[in-house]
């Protein structure tokens, strides 16, 4: 790491920070994927996690995933809250026996020295009602700040994980703020340069936060979104039905496109929720509808080549 030019050091630049994580996990044999090209609320929704966590075949992957949380928008005025931020996601199936150690080594790789910092694993059971998923694990604390989620998946999309996958999620902005020592996310140095060459997180994203906050809370076209939800739901079902190779329903050929529609429905629901047009009772029923899609996709996935033992 010492050979890195200063602007690439994880404690100096946001992009250097991401690259350091990617390099570390590449060394552990992970495939380094690029973000999935759809809007989603968390890196877990990426098919490389949700679907690949299922079935007996080994799988190791790491990737950055932009996470869209329409409700968390603050018009760029809050120092830590964003409606669009990055998660770094690692998935290893089966979970290796030394996953905790690997995680701690990865912190070292981004400049967090465990001889100096108090790193703790604090109970946090993870559950995603929309994905029909749960697991046990921890929030990982560094000097009292939650910097990652560490989960052993027990069930995803309603299917038991056999074997269990270990999942790590790093909140990139928050961690980078910590190692860069800044209190406002928009002050993060993005490219590690100084003076006129310096590009901050705010330079890249502040306008977007303002615009999307307006969109998410005030202007998103709810009539269209309600329609989109229905369309995505129907399309998901249609592709799932069409994907079975035969009436025996023992082989599925279209789980991934169907799952895209599930991702779509989930994000549309989040937008509607941010617009405040879904009542408390309806909310539950929308979550159930997305979960039903996720479960049906999981069921289809385990009958595909990558998801089955064959």
């Amino acid at each position: 790491m010492d050979s890195l030019p200063p602007h690439m050091r994880p404690e100096r630049s946001f992009q250097g920070f991401i690259l350091a994580l990617q390099r570390f996990w590449a060394e552990q044999g992970c495939v380094i994927l690029q973000p999935y090209d759809m809007e989603m609320g968390a890196g877990t929704f990426h098919p490389a996690t949700t679907l690949r966590a299922l079935g007996p075949k080994p799988w190791k992957a790491a990737y950055v995933q932009p996470s869209r949380r329409p409700k968390d928008g603050r018009y760029g005025e809050n120092p830590n809250r964003l409606q669009h931020y990055y998660q770094f996601q690692v998935i290893m199936k089966p979970s290796p026996a030394n996953l905790q150690d690997l995680y701690l080594q990865s912190l070292k790789a981004i400049g967090i020295d465990t001889a100096l910092h108090d790193v703790r694993f604090v109970e946090d059971d993870w559950e995603s009602p929309t994905l029909g998923a749960w697991g046990l694990g921890w929030e990982c604390w560094c000097d009292g700040m939650e910097v990652s989620q560490f989960t052993y998946f027990q069930q995803v999309a309603g299917v038991e994980c056999a074997p269990v996958a270990g999942e790590l999620t790093y909140g990139l902005e928050r961690l980078a703020m910590y190692v860069q020592g800044v209190d406002r996310v928009y002050d993060l140095n993005f490219n590690g340069r100084d003076g006129a060459d310096k590009v901050t997180y705010g330079d890249v994203f502040l306008q977007a936060e303002q615009e999307y906050s307006r969109h998410n809370f005030e202007h998103a076209d709810t009539a269209m979104l309600f329609e989109q939800f229905k369309m995505a739901e129907a399309a998901c079902r249609k592709y799932l039905d069409a994907g079975w190779k035969s009436d025996k329903r023992d082989e599925h050929l279209m789980a991934l496109p169907a799952y895209d529609q599930c991702i779509k429905a989930s994000h549309v629901f989040n937008l509607l929720d941010a617009r405040g047009v879904i009542s408390v009772t309806e909310r539950q029923s929308y979550i159930m509808r997305v979960r039903e899609l996720a479960k049906a996709c999981g069921e289809a996935w385990v009958h595909t080549e990558a998801g089955s033992a064959a």
């Binding site: 100096l116 910092h117 108090d118 604090v122 027990q154 074997p163």
Partner: protein
């Protein structure tokens, strides 16, 4: 005798589960040992974030041999029965069996001896079973083994096990068993960061010492002592005082193996936030203690961190990191608090129309309106200012919609008080926001300001009447709406403030605001109060059977009067007069019960003076005629002691009557008259209580 050392080394065990897990481990292992005939001398279990440890000392090295005698079939019995007997007992032939004679004939007897097993073998059988069936609240599978449904489950991945058995002077034996490939032996590991290397251990003594050297304090009590002592010292040294918090201490001790206490600070500007909000923020999110100034008892801008490492820079980076997080959290809290202050509480009321309190009891808005109305009715009865009470009832729940309470639900009520004061409400009105929830339990403070009392009563009575109306009473151990606590709260509010309240009529009048509170409900609700009152008195060591004796009179819904009467009755029954009168009354009751049954009739109605034959009869009749009205007058004046004094006068006449008078006279008319006189005793004593309900 040999000792067992067992350590289950895993990834981080949730702090809240550790104490129970240690206890479960101790119980399960020792129970199984005893069931296997292995009585031990002592056992103790410990937990850290990464290990559960059990030491059992003084276990016999092997089980004793077990001699068994088993009766078989009759000599010359059926061949199948004989073969079955041989198979079951393991005898080679009948030659090995004895023959025993008993009154029914000659029978084969098998004498077998089951040799005891070495304890280490017994342990090798029971330990894997205990681990596989361990009662974690939640458990999980992990790793490659989790592909199979038979995979081992544990609270978090289980990495290794130490299991040794042996006596002090010798190298111990490893208890050998297979548990899904988890290594079992003499190897454990030190502190995750400070001393991660493998350690070889033999038995409990060297185990504890080696762990200590490897920066692991095994005993949670010891970790708590260290944290508490260091935190007190650190704050004291700077002229401050630690705000102690036992629940937080338990949790924090479960998050570290090597506690290192550090102190950080935050910007003084945050001290403008109420202390409770600062404390909740720092406690819930950061698991840090807060610190106060002993002179003012107000919080200072300090907090105490319990780290898990001795940092190479002495803790500077850890303190700085925690300070950053706490600054961000307090900024949020301050923002919430200041945002809340911008909205007047009453303008939050319309939002309650959208919030359902209970599907059968309507919205929160409806509930608040009911409480306001009821509090307004109760206020004059208890002497509270009606206008203030109604205002207090209107505002009491409004803080539920504030940002701070949304973030920290445990601050409900308290925030309402702060916000009410900030918007210029009367102090009594503001206090009711916090105090109308009280008392929350048997040890909680009971408010004494009458405005708070009136709102607290209205809040609880609305809950009780409401859930009674929709038939959602507590059953058995199920009390999801905490109705027992509400009823007990009403009782304590009334008794401790000496309030006069006709509960039944207040409840029934309130029930007009809802449907479902039919005729059967008032008596049932009152009986519920009676049960709570009995429980309350029982807990105080008072005589709870007297509650029944008073409630059995009927129409008793003024709880303060019930309690006063019970107290006077208790005192009376402690006196000789009381005891004898009770005995006499019970005797009268028993005789009446028998004769009423025999004659299939009651003996009510006044006795005929002309039929009295003996002086004792006449004297008793006179005494009753005198005492009855006297006691009733005293009761009407709420002079229960006076009523009891009057009752005491009845005693000599009753005693003399039973001494000299034979009730079942041969003359039927005399007998009937005497039974009527006995009935009069019962009637007279009912002026103070139903004596038949009193236990001897």
């Amino acid at each position: 005798m040999p000792d067992l050392l067992l350590e289950l080394f895993s990834e981080e065990i949730p702090a809240r589960m550790q104490a129970k897990a240690a206890e479960d481990l101790r119980r399960m292992v020792t129970d199984r040992l005893v069931a296997e005939g292995l009585v031990y001398e002592g056992a103790k279990a410990f937990a850290t974030p990464r290990r559960l440890t059990l030491t059992v000392h003084g276990i016999p090295a092997r089980q004793s041999d077990l001699k068994q005698e088993r009766k078989g079939p009759r000599v010359g019995g059926a061949e199948a029965a004989i073969q079955g007997f041989l198979k079951a007992t393991g005898l080679a032939s009948l030659d090995e069996a004895k023959i025993q004679r008993d009154p029914k004939g000659d029978f084969y007897i098998a004498l077998t001896e089951k040799p005891g097993k070495p304890t280490v073998d017994v342990l090798a059988e029971i330990l894997p079973i205990i681990i596989r069936t361990f009662p974690w609240p939640k458990q999980m599978r992990w790793g490659a083994a989790s592909a199979k449904s038979s995979a081992l489950t544990w609270v978090r991945p289980l990495h290794s096990i130490v299991a040794t058995f042996g006596i002090e002077t010798e190298e111990p034996e490893v208890v050998q068993f297979d548990l899904s490939g988890v290594s079992v032996g003499q190897t454990t590991y030190g502190h995750r960061f400070l001393a991660p290397d493998a350690i070889q251990v033999r038995r409990f003594d060297d185990y504890v010492a080696k762990l200590q050297a490897a920066k692991v304090v095994l005993d949670p009590e010891r970790r708590k002592e260290i944290i508490l002592a260091d935190a007190r010292q650190l704050t004291f040294a700077q002229g401050y005082e630690l705000v102690e918090d036992p629940a937080l201490l338990d949790e924090v001790a479960g998050l570290v193996e090597w506690p290192v206490v550090l102190m950080g600070s935050f910007d003084k500007e945050f001290l403008s936030i109420p202390d409770e909000v600062i404390r909740a923020t720092i406690r819930a999110n950061q698991k840090c203690f807060v610190v106060r100034d002993p002179k003012t008892q107000k919080l200072t801008n300090k907090f105490v961190i319990t780290a898990n490492i001795e940092a190479s820079d002495g803790g500077t980076a850890i303190i700085a990191g925690n300070e950053r997080v706490i600054r961000a959290r307090l900024s949020d809290a301050k923002f919430f608090y200041e945002t809340d202050l911008k909205t007047r509480l009453e303008s939050r009321l319309p939002k309650f129309e959208q919030i359902v309190f209970h599907e059968k009891l309507g919205t929160q808005a409806a509930r608040i309106a009911r409480i306001e109305k009821l509090a307004g009715e109760i206020a004059p009865l208890v002497g509270a200012d009606v206008t203030k009470t109604k205002r207090a009832a209107q505002l009491a729940k409004t803080d539920l919609l504030t940002e701070v309470v949304g973030e920290f639900p445990e601050l409900q009520g308290l925030m309402g008080k702060y916000y009410a004061l900030a918007q210029g409400e009367d102090a009594a009105v503001a206090a009711a926001s916090e105090d109308h929830y009280k008392p929350q339990g048997p040890t909680d403070r009971v408010p004494s300001d009458l405005v708070s009392v009136a709102v607290a009563l209205a809040d609880k009575l609305d809950t009780l009447v409401g859930f009674w109306a929709i038939d959602e009473k507590p059953t058995g151990s199920k009390d999801p709406f905490a109705l027992r606590r509400a009823a007990l709260g009403v009782i304590r509010l009334i008794i401790e403030n000496n309030l006069r309240l006709k509960l039944k009529s207040v409840a029934s009048s309130h029930a007009s605001t809802m449907t479902g509170y039919d005729e059967s409900k008032p008596a049932d609700l009152l009986a519920f109060f009676a049960d709570r009152l009995k429980g309350q008195l029982r807990d105080q060591g008072a005589r709870h059977d007297l509650v029944d004796a008073v409630f059995a009179l009927g129409g008793q819904d003024d709880l303060l009067m019930v309690v006063r009467r019970v107290e006077a009755l208790g005192k009376f029954l402690d006196s000789d007069d009381g005891k004898n009168l009770l005995a006499g009354t019970k005797r009268a009751n028993n005789i009446l019960a028998i004769e009423e049954k025999k004659d299939k009739r009651k003996f009510d109605g006044a006795p005929d003076a002309a039929l009295f034959k003996l002086d004792e009869e006449k004297a008793l009749a006179r005494a009753i005629a005198e005492v009855g009205p006297e006691a009733s007058v005293a009761v009407a004046k709420e002079d229960f002691a006076g009523a009891m004094t009057a009752m005491a006068k009845l005693r000599p006449a009753v005693d003399a009557f039973f001494d000299k008078v034979k009730v079942n006279d041969d003359d039927a008319a005399v007998r009937e008259n005497r039974l009527k006189l006995l009935n009069e005793i019962r009637a007279a004593t009912r002026a103070v209580a139903d004596f038949s309900k009193i236990q001897d």
